[in-house]
């Protein structure tokens, strides 16, 4: 167990989630410091995605609390998580398929801007300024993630790897302090995964974004994480540096079974 860090960015406290009689999460606690990359791993069914969905408020835990920048996330509905400073990507792509790459990323900036339907419909003066600010954010991200060549194409039909970058750009458009990545390496080839690892570290360093990474791809997690949290059957079984976690007999047992 890590000692309670002073003033953590994210603090998950004793979270439990039940589906019927099944405990999907059972008393999970951990802290994340500003600027960390935290890898969340565990065998299938360990509760990683459930925890992830609690953080983006798609699920409500039956007990426990989640503190972000010192205040609880649980009194926020899902659509007010982005404005708190938490952006996310999805395990299986969740792009807006009939829209262009640029419009997808613009929607990412929804919470970073404001307007209402009436002003938009009447093109009131501040709407233009608002759109200009959104476009500034979007243009910068298109450059940053090198998707300029496809920026004005519809999302449908673009290659998988490109769409993963589009999703990343969309998540960053809300200008998050915490970025939740749900299996970003899924479906990528070896070279693309190496590139992804570099990119995640770059985003953390250059954009001052803290990253929570749920991932199956062990090499990626161990290469870039500062801290790794291991779940199994809804419980936290280990937490520490990648080296410490890899050496933990409890973790080895969870992944390889008792025989090992």
């Amino acid at each position: 167990m890590s000692a309670a860090a002073p003033d953590p960015l994210l603090s998950v406290r004793d979270i439990a989630v039940q589906f019927g009689g099944i405990k999907a999460l059972d008393g999970i606690s951990f802290d994340m410091k500003q600027g960390q990359i935290l890898g969340l791993i565990g065998p299938n069914g360990a509760g990683k995605t459930t925890l992830f969905n609690c953080l983006s408020r798609l699920y409500t835990p039956s007990s426990g609390d989640i503190l972000f920048k010192g205040s609880t996330l649980l009194d926020r509905p899902a659509h007010r998580i982005a404005e708190a400073g938490i952006g996310r990507t999805f395990q299986n792509l969740a792009t807006f398929k009939n829209l262009t790459v640029r419009d997808n990323i613009r929607i990412g900036a929804h919470s970073a801007s404001s307007s209402d339907m009436a002003s938009d419909a009447l093109r009131l003066p501040w709407v233009g300024r608002n759109e200009a600010r959104i476009d500034e954010i979007v243009d910068e991200l298109i450059d940053y993630l090198e998707i300029g060549a496809v920026a004005d194409m519809p999302v449908a039909g673009l290659p998988f790897g490109t769409l993963k970058r589009v999703e990343l750009a969309r998540a960053l458009a809300s200008q998050p302090t915490l970025l939740l990545l749900d299996e970003p390496a899924g479906g990528l080839n070896h070279d693309e995964i190496t590139e992804l690892g570099e990119r995640i570290k770059k985003i953390r360093d250059e954009r001052n974004v803290t990253v929570l990474l749920v991932e199956h791809h062990m090499n990626l997690v161990m290469a870039i994480s500062d801290v790794v949290v291991v779940l199994n059957f809804g419980r936290k079984i280990s937490e520490g540096t990648p080296e410490a976690v890899q050496a933990d007999p409890e973790v080895i047992r969870a992944y390889l079974g008792d025989a090992a």
Binding site: S56, H79, M117
Partner: protein, 335 residues
Amino acid sequence: MTVQQEEVSAVEARQEQQARSVSAATISSLVVLAALVLCPFFISGFQTFQLNLMLIYAIAIMGLNLLTGFNGQFSLGHGAFYAIGAYTAAILIDTFGVSYVWTLPAAGVICFVSGFLFGLPALRLEGVYLALATFALAVATPQMLKLSILEHWTGGVQGIVIRKPKAPFDLPLSQDQWLYFFTLFVGLLLYWAARNMVKSRSGRAIMAIRDNPLAARSMGVNVALYKSLTFGVSALFTGIAGALGAIVIQFVAPDSFTFVLSVALLVGLVVGGVGWLPGAIVGGAFIVFVPNIAEEISKGLSGAMYGLMLILLIYVMPTGAGGLIRTVTDRLTRR
């Protein structure tokens, strides 16, 4: 060529193609606008009246398109909002002596509120279930309008007859011509507003909800609020069309607003192109002219003729007029 060079030239080619299709779009919209402005001076009063109805249905279809095409919510009941708009105008003119011009914003506001309120419970319904709920609305409306409690205002089964307004400021226009230009002006204003909305933050939010509600919510879009608001705005458009319809036809009665009207609007939407605003004109033309053409071909089998034409049209352009135009311009500009 290196990969980068290839990429750059592909982008340039694409931008060039876009620039060409943008200018083609501007030119064709100017041609359509000019035709709409000039037409009434070369055709009879009755034909002007028909063209006016086409514009009115186009406005109603535009409203339905915002809801179904852009937000992905089905409605088989937009005839109800059309009826509410029409009755609002007729009652305000007949009972309260309000000028016809002011009945439009009133119809808009009342329909926005009705649509928004109907949209709240509809939030829990998706796809075919929402279609059924709106179907119920369409079926209930004509009977509600016949209720004896409301008869003092609605005129019951008899409906309300209103007078046709004259052209103001001694303009040298017939009543039909004046009303046509009035509708055209309102229609262009609403088209401008719908286009602005679709191309802005709230428009992107409603399209995001259509494509992936879960992801939209995680991007900070208040899905429930935007869906209800879209229902309201959609009803506002259709309600204003209803008010214009009442003024132009000079008569409202419950049986003008049956379920058939709702279906006609949906047919117009599909024929014009789902998710493409200018398609509304094509849809409006279909609603007004195709039944007449069908009747001319065969009086006894006009329904069958109508069906045949509809099937042929959907066969030729399965994605509506919008899809057809997009395919053609793509072919022409891609060289």
